[in-house]
Symmetry: C2
Subunit: 206 residues, 2 copies
């Protein structure tokens, strides 16, 4: 799936493609999905048509741009699954996923929606299976409440998306506290643990 030589491509085209992807990733991450394609083209110093020649539609661009993050998700879950203590693994997954989603608004949005573009479906399913396994272990080991369902994680991630803030830093800080709260509520025999510092939330304008 990578580095197929394919028909010899012109090198400038290849460069443009990379540049567009890089710019798009940054833009979507920091500004969300509704960044105009024109703007991305402009920042990549490319005409609109060029962008469309490389990515037939906006969705296509989104899929490609987020493939990387999708793999990061997989990796996070895999790491959680590899952690000896299932609860620690679960906790790590929740914290890391939420942080990732807080840092990349666009990806968060795509992740909780469904753009079942083939690119995603595979990773998604694999990740989901690993998650189910991890959840099973964490329940069996005791700390995760028995009535937890995988949808509760979706719920938590969607909710995490709702957290808006002026700066990414603020958003991450708020998200961190939120993750700690959620984790607390996921415990079978909860113990009130200290939380990350509260965040002053200067409500966003839009």
């Amino acid at each position: 799936m990578t580095a197929e030589v394919g028909p010899r491509r012109r090198s400038d085209a290849r460069d443009n493609r990379e540049r567009i992807l890089a710019v798009a990733r940054l833009a979507f991450a920091t500004e969300g999905l509704d960044v105009p394609l024109r703007e991305i083209a402009r920042r990549a110093e490319v005409g609109a048509a060029t962008l469309y020649r490389h990515f037939a539609t906006k969705d296509a661009l989104l899929s490609e741009a987020f493939a990387e993050q999708m793999e990061t998700c997989s990796a996070i879950v895999a790491e959680g699954l590899a952690t000896p203590d299932p609860w620690q693994g679960f906790r790590l997954v929740v914290e890391r996923l939420m942080e990732l989603h807080a840092l990349d608004r666009g990806f968060a949005r795509v992740f909780t929606s469904r753009l079942p573009e083939a690119v995603f479906a595979a990773d998604r399913d694999r990740t989901l299976r690993m998650l189910l396994e991890l959840v099973g272990r964490a329940k069996k080991a005791g700390p995760l409440r028995r009535d937890f369902v995988i949808e509760d994680l979706s719920l938590a991630l969607m909710a995490n998306e709702g957290i808006r803030a002026e700066s990414p830093a603020t958003r991450v800080a708020a998200s961190r506290r939120f993750a700690a709260l959620m984790l607390q509520s996921f415990m079978a025999d909860p113990v009130a643990a200290p939380l990350p510092p509260p965040v002053r939330l200067p409500l966003t304008r839009a």
Copy 2:
């Protein structure tokens, strides 16, 4: 501020105004804030200009449309404050506010943003003061964790907003479970209590 007779108005105009408000409330509640004004005008069987004559700008319409819900919020908090057991009061407030916000997406959005249109500022501040009082009592009584800050409620409400679903019913169900989870994490000496039923989340498309 209400029912000023003012200069005799034509009755048809008055009717139109009411109809527009009713339609707008419904539309904003079920579809969010970005319903085109034209669409609202169309549903109210009124021309665009008519709508603008009654409400100078979209923000003006929003303010008027949500004034009612804003009062409902106040009422909820007041009721919570009037509840003998502070924790029960707090719990009631969280549950009711979240349900209200789940039922009315538009209002939720306006509430967690700041449209400090004079109409709101007053209610908002009053409500906030009551909330602080309630939080203080709930902490003093014991059940609410000491490191809870009022921003955590904002956080929870924003997060609640992130919960998307196809139907309002699904959204409310999901929101209910979410509220229960959050309440659990707000407790100083948490006891894992049963949760509302989990919700299958057929991820939304957009």
